[in-house]
């Protein structure tokens, strides 16, 4: 996959490709520092650029402030507007408040494990952004197994949550710990199946090459495989336990799940990194499904990293939207949904996509031209709807015998005897 011609010139002031600036800095440093040091500085520069400039502000602005403002609007209230101009300093105020709050440790808690859990919860979030491409050559580590790296690193915070829940020696947090582990394991399987469908078409595991594939073929994978995108969204919102599936810290049932005993900045780390993982998941979705930094050729004029950031926050809005409106599912409903619905549908999707990929190989006898992709896209969209409906009917969901949304109405009291229905309903 040759790197396509890119208009951005090589001089440092061209903001369309921020890697020029880092290249200029590193060349400057190279003259009088040993190469080992420059290697470390390059990685640090990458970390500063990706995490401190993109993730932390978007965590604070979009994650804390934006989410509370948008959900406030959904609930016909204003949302934070006291601290700072129009409430923009609210996240910083929260952080300061959390820092000066006392981080309690319960008497019989497992102190060492309770102290380590937030650290292990935070570290993988930073690791996740090493493989995500912000622009044509704005990526810290373009490793050939980036997709697997993402799955591997995103399975570590589950263990940290379990450690937090188990070590807090509190019945509610034990509930939360067991729930989060059981749910994440059962939602990781359909997630991997859906992503395998994507890999079949793009042919590589590296995220940069996936973006280039989508750019060269002028099609986004979300149109090519809408079912994989839907499965990805549901599985990721289950793993991050965002609202339709936030049973690990279900406020109304088990107080705060595995976070019950945490207070002060320890809780703050968990809360902040929940949003960090949501942003990482939406960045990953933007790269894999929504064409990353490419926008059908427009990325020559608009800075590619701006396109990427816009797509990430667009996907993040889906999380905010579901959090603001949907109620929560029960644990056993989630489990049956994962194993009886998500997994079979993901498998069928994988089979259909594999046959398409083989057809694509045969029909274009190896040249893999672009034309057939649009045909596959239409077929896949129809297939997605058909599979979901057919499998739901197979599992026994029949819309006709639904309980009506309106009760029965009677004109006079009938005494203490059950009323045989007169008008409508049973």
């Amino acid at each position: 996959m040759t790197l396509l011609v890119f208009l951005a010139s090589k001089n440092w002031y061209d903001i369309r490709d921020l890697s020029n600036i880092s290249r200029v800095i590193l060349e400057g440093l190279d003259r009088f520092l040993p190469s080992g040091i420059v290697y470390v500085v390059a990685v640090l520069l990458g970390f500063v650029a990706s995490f401190l400039i993109f993730v932390l502000p978007s965590q604070l602005i979009v994650g804390v402030y934006g989410e509370r403002k948008i959900i406030g609007r959904m609930q016909s209230r204003l949302g934070p507007n006291r601290v700072g101009p129009k409430g923009l300093l609210q996240p910083i105020a929260d952080a300061i408040k959390l820092m000066q709050k006392e981080a309690l440790t319960p008497k019989f808690a497992d102190k060492a494990v309770m102290w380590v859990a937030p650290i292990i919860f935070v570290a993988p979030c930073v690791l996740l952004f090493a493989v995500i491409p912000f622009g044509p050559n704005m990526i810290i580590a373009d490793i050939p197994v980036a997709l697997l790296y993402f799955l591997a690193v995103s399975s570590i915070p589950v263990l940290a949550a379990f450690m937090a829940g188990w070590s807090a020696n509190n019945k509610y947090s034990l509930y939360g710990a067991m729930r989060i582990v059981a749910m994440t394991i059962s939602y990781e399987v359909p997630l991997v199946m859906a992503l395998m469908g994507v890999v079949l078409f793009t042919g590589t595991l590296s995220l940069q090459e996936m973006v280039l594939w989508q750019k060269s073929n002028d099609i986004w994978v979300v149109f090519l495989q809408p079912l994989a995108f839907a499965i990805y969204f549901i599985c990721v919102s289950a793993e991050l336990n965002r609202t339709p599936t936030d049973i690990a810290e279900a406020e109304s049932e088990i107080v705060a799940g595995y976070l019950t005993e945490y207070s002060g900045m320890k809780w703050g780390l968990f809360y902040g990194m929940d949003i960090g993982y949501a942003i990482a998941a939406s960045a990953f979705a933007a790269t894999v499904f929504l064409g990353g930094w490419s926008f059908f050729g427009l990325d020559k004029y608009i800075p590619p990293w701006a396109i990427f950031i816009a797509k990430t926050h667009l996907f993040y809005f889906l999380f905010i939207w579901t959090r603001g409106t949907l109620p929560r599912l029960r644990l056993d409903q989630l489990m049956t949904f994962a194993w009886k619905f998500m997994l079979p549908v993901a498998l069928i999707n994988l089979v259909v996509v594999a046959t398409e990929r083989m057809l694509w190989q045969e029909l274009t006898d190896g040249k893999l031209t672009q034309g057939y992709l649009y045909l596959f896209a239409i077929v896949n969209i129809a297939m997605a709807v058909a599979i979901v409906y057919a499998w739901a009917r197979m599992l026994g969901y029949s819309p006709k015998d639904e309980t009506p949304m309106r009760p029965r109405l009677f004109n006079d009291a009938r005494g203490y005897v059950p009323v045989v229905s007169e008008k409508g309903g049973r």
């Binding site: 080992g36 290697y39 497992d110 060492a112 494990v113 490793i143 050939p144 197994v145 697997l148 790296y149 799955l151 591997a152 690193v153 399975s155 570590i156 589950v158 263990l159 379990f162 450690m163 188990w166 067991m178 582990v181 394991i185 990781e188 595991l205």
Partner: protein
């Protein structure tokens, strides 16, 4: 494999892995032992990255840290009364003796033999592994999948309680 960074990371990984493996041996609380076990798995995944076997490193983290460690944790949860003190049997001393002798033999052989090694790493990427698994090693690959299904069914049969079996018998 030269360069200061590589050697430094090797010694760090070796220290982390061996110390956490020792931790599994020494720690008093079974739950801490599992946490040390997880650190060992991550340390070994680091070794695989050092030996430029990326896919295996990622598979190791996903399968061992993501699934087997959780399996062990759930096993501990499902056996509440069994002692969680990670104690040793009376066979502690003979076990230590045996493993030190075995270790001595291994290290002697390693140091004594002169290995014909190649310097640059052969291309062992995902593509080659995929073609190998489905090419020359296709049969063992299918047998492995059958083995996994058998293990799955076996584990469920072992753990099912009489009521669930009775339940199924009725239907």
């Amino acid at each position: 494999m030269e360069g200061f960074g590589v050697v430094l990371s090797f010694w760090v990984l070796a220290a982390v892995t061996l110390v956490s493996a020792g931790g599994v041996m020494v720690s008093r609380n079974l739950f801490h032992a599992v946490l040390f076990l997880i650190t060992t798995f991550v340390g070994i995944a680091g070794f695989f990255v050092l030996l430029s076997a990326d896919f295996i490193a990622m598979a190791q983290v996903i399968i061992y840290v993501g699934a087997i460690a959780v399996l062990v944790l759930f096993a501990i949860l499902l056996t509440p009364h069994a002692g969680r003190d990670n104690g040793e049997t009376r066979m502690l001393l003979p076990a230590l003796l045996l493993s030190t002798c075995l270790g001595a033999v291994f290290i002697f052989v390693i140091v004594d033999a002169d290995w014909r090694t190649i310097s640059e790493s052969p291309s062992v990427g995902v593509r080659e592994l995929g073609s190998a698994l489905l090419g020359t090693w296709a049969l063992p690959f299918e047998i492995a999948s059958v083995l996994l299904t058998a293990a799955l069914v076996g584990a469920i049969m072992l753990v099912r309680s009489p009521e669930e079996e009775a339940e199924d018998a009725l239907v």
